[in-house]
Symmetry: C2
Subunit: 319 residues, 2 copies
């Protein structure tokens, strides 16, 4: 398969993915249908299914890749529905947060409905090891989210805690995308470890880039105002670096959650001036190269090249 | 096994159940531990694990009964955590609702944590059919809860909708308790169908009794004020019968959610005077006998006798 046929093949598969997704989230209950329309079928970049399909193609194609792609996306969507509530998010994927339209109840329970469909898909793969992998990932997801809440509530900010939070809430599921493929392929331990590490490291890069742009990005490109994390009291890598370099000025801004006009602009200035921004960009770059290096055991292929490109494209977004 | 050794054996197994439950819900994350202490280990009647253990003993004992008992209880606990939020419940099992203490976020996410443990237990049983059964039940649970919300929001009250709601939110999981045992036993289709039907019918009886006592019971015995469903705008079988018999007086009381002093007392009077209460008690009795009849294909045993007694004890609570 060359790069061109890979692209075509991927688009075809993603088309089938969208069709199956709609079928899967359908329900006799009208209120469930409403919320699914709103969230699941609204799109998004389908980054997790893409990871599954690319990893599968890097191994020459594996059985039941579609069920895995659907399961990771639905688990992700369920998390979004439950997080909307937690984050009190004003917008999600540029739309009104689901729970504002239909109430908390329907958000949480529709998330649970999606989780039941994940269970169904796992059974469809016929692989108990996949159930075990998802049990592990779902546990890390929930622990990561609660830990993030705990760190905010108790003010336990540190780089170690930041790593633990994003490992749980993001990298664990990305890891399931690629390790799940190895599992479906009955791949050799070395290959499984390579895909596991790539998924995990890529997930870390993805979240670090997301958090960096939340403060340092362009609000127009992001489709939301910058500084949301600071206003919600979420400490990320950039704020930790800022605190190290300019605590006297940054501390009070974080404490008041950037409530004063100009606070966010000032944090951005300080991030550039103190080198905090550069330090985070370097951390993201190093991590992306770790992701790339993890793939060494895999033979070269257009799919492997696209996985590498995926990791490096995250770096380009912050440079 | 006679009735006495059954009782002993059951208590021993429930003791092991409590110990394993505590291990399972443990987490490195402090906020998860707090909420688990609050809810899961606070007890409750463990009615679902009891159903599993009794059904298992009615088949002479099945492998992995403990994992099934733990999985149904954790799924139930997760539902309670998510429902606290939905119902805005003031108390649950006589304690402060979990979310009031730690915020919505921790309730929802701790529920998700429990769901990840259910997945782990299902993998431990080594039976994909059980994953499939739980996928089906979890779907019905979520659909039942959302449908209840939808019926309340749109005022779509009817006996058919009431049946659909309680089938989803209660009977489906009770059915999984007993059908799950048949599945673990690789039981003959007739036995599986018997246990499936018993669990389902018993679940219906259980919820109908619960809803009946919510209005007609003794607040002291219940440990909460009577009339909670009416005040939350939930229509149950007794209110539907009341509407049939005394719409002019009952309609306005339901519309104002019993906001006037004396409203609940008046509904109770009317339920007796119009025969609405008697009609519901008769429906519960008939359903309990359907549950009992479902067990006909099983050979007589002390465990079968206890299952029958369980169904009939629900009837005694309303007579």
């Amino acid at each position: 398969m060359n790069a061109e046929t890979l692209t075509l093949d991927l688009e075809t598969s993603l088309g089938r993915f969208e069709a199956r997704l709609r079928e899967l989230v359908d329900s006799d209950v009208e209120f469930i249908r409403l919320i699914q329309d709103d969230l699941v079928t609204a799109g998004g970049k389908r980054i997790r299914p893409r990871l599954v399909l690319l990893a599968s193609r890097a191994l020459g194609g594996v059985p039941r890749e579609m069920e895995l792609a659907l399961a990771v996306e639905l688990l992700h969507s369920a998390t979004l529905l439950h997080d909307d509530l937690v984050d009190d998010a004003e917008t999600r994927r540029g739309r009104e947060a689901a729970f504002r339209k239909y109430g908390n109840a329907v958000s949480v329970l529709s998330g649970d409905y999606l989780l039941s469909r994940v269970l169904y898909l796992l059974a469809e793969t016929g692989r108990l090891e996949l159930v075990r992998l998802f049990a592990d990932v779902a546990r890390q997801l929930a622990e990561g989210e609660v830990f993030q809440f705990q760190v905010a509530a108790l003010g336990e900010y540190s780089k170690a805690n930041y790593e633990r939070i994003i490992a749980g809430k993001t990298a664990a599921l990305m890891r399931a995308c690629t390790e799940g493929v190895a599992l479906l392929a009955d791949a050799a331990p070395m290959v499984r470890e390579a895909l596991r590490r790539f998924g995990y490291e890529y997930g870390m890069v993805f979240q670090m880039r997301d958090d960096y742009l939340d403060l340092m990005g362009d609000g127009q490109v992001l489709g939301k105002p910058v500084g949301g994390d600071v206003r919600e009291g979420k400490v990320t890598l950039i704020t930790l670096h800022l605190l190290e370099r300019a605590a006297e000025e940054v501390g009070p801004i974080l404490a008041r959650r950037a409530a004063k006009p100009g606070d966010i602009a000032r944090l951005r200035e300080l991030a550039i001036a103190t080198g905090a921004a550069e330090a985070v960009v370097e951390a993201i770059t190093a991590r992306a190269e770790q992701a790339v290096a993890a793939l060494d055991p895999l033979p070269d292929s257009p799919a492997k090249a696209q996985l590498i490109e995926l990791a490096r494209s995250e770096v380009r977004r912050v440079r």
